[in-house]
Symmetry: C2
Subunit: 213 residues, 2 copies
DNA sequence: GGCAAAGGTATACCAGGTGCAGAAATATCC
DNA sequence: GGATATTTCTGCACCTGGTATACCTTTGCC
């Protein structure tokens, strides 16, 4: 489809990568808030104005790498085998992510990943950006549920927000533990158990929640 | 406890209110992003520095009014009658909110409220701020569940994120409809039905989600 | 009334982000 | 291959949110 990307196109990609790489390197080294976009631009040998032509905000310098994941759950639901419940597909996908130590599950303890996670958590504006991400994931998943499982509008939205919320809670929990020094391999069994528990809760509802007091 | 707030204290409250009022007035009239903090400060007859002494960020000029609601769900759970399930308490509280047209349920169509909602939705930074709000509500609710229903750590967190997510989805749905012109009184019946449906889903789980395809 | 402390102000400053006019590089047409 | 049109990059000035500093005013209190 594009045997000839064209010089202009290639340079664009190159510049994009140069800026992104310079940004990540500097941010990991000194922290997100400690590095100005001017410094990033200088390191990438590009004007500040050009940097903003490629990345609309400073946060995007980091977050654009995760853009694919925004619709990941929705894609999993759409691509599920016939007669499989959406929830089952999402659960299996998450378990597979755990097995593969996919960073999105929070269960990857490579120093680079750990530092990136810490960097994001230390920068409020980046955390806020991640929340918007979640909202995007919810919308995409709601659509997928409507279109592939004939789920009514409201039910789809409700299911979507619940699933995404649980997904993130699990990942965050894993990431927290690894951030506190627990090795991924040690955490693995617990992460699997927690995942099973969480999806069982989703499937069976909160009825079981004690009513005492 | 304080029959004599003291002059200093009174002036502080007064200044606080003056700034907040000036801000809301200007924001409602011209839009959040169209008004600078300098203009708000000028309207409130206060220096910019003073404004930031009272409100840490521009967003807080709007959001501080909702601060109480951050822990509202958690308080409802803590204050529930004996042997009542947390979920029941939250549902009843939401239904009561609908009856009273509490703006937090999205079912208040007073022009002021409508304009405020629109203003918030039109300003990405305010939306982001609301998301942080949600996160705070989740934490508070998780604690309440742990402390009043002996819910284990993970279960409490999972339940909390689900409940808060559904709560917000319902409110947002109502707000959306009113924003599109539907009167609150017309929407009321549907809002109640949707609420019942949503909480039934929470209670019974997503098992029912069709597995077709 | 006088003094310490709290609170307010003016000013200057930093960082993220945008608008604009022109220079430089790339693509296109002859 | 060269002239031209188009895209992209750049430098610069500027706006806005937010902070630091240093100084002044008000309040509380003896």
């Amino acid at each position: 489809m594009d045997g000839k990307p064209g010089l202009r196109e290639r340079k664009k990609r190159q510049t994009h990568a140069a800026i992104s790489d310079a940004a990540i390197t500097l941010f990991l080294e000194h922290g997100f808030n400690q590095v100005s976009v001017a410094q990033v631009a200088e390191a990438a040998e590009v004007s500040k104005r050009t940097l903003f032509a490629y990345f609309p905000t400073k946060e995007d310098l980091v977050v654009h790498r995760l853009a694919d994941h925004e619709t990941e759950i929705a894609r999993v639901v759409r691509a599920r085998p016939p007669r499989t419940a959406p929830l089952t597909a999402v659960r299996e996908h998450f378990l597979e992510g755990l097995r593969e130590r996919d960073p999105i599950t929070g269960l990857n303890d490579h120093p680079q990943v750990l530092r990136l996670t810490r960097m994001i958590l230390d920068a409020p504006s980046l955390v806020a950006r991640m929340e918007r991400f979640k909202a995007g994931a919810e919308r995409a998943l709601a659509r997928a549920l409507r279109e592939t499982a004939d789920t009514p509008e409201l039910t789809a939205r409700l299911a979507a927000v619940q699933i995404v919320a649980v997904h993130w809670a699990l990942a965050q929990d894993n990431a927290d533990r690894l951030a506190h020094g627990e090795p991924a391999d040690t955490r693995y069994a617990g992460a699997v158990a927690d995942t099973e528990h969480a999806f069982a809760l989703l499937e069976n509802g909160l009825r079981q929640l004690a009513a005492q007091r």
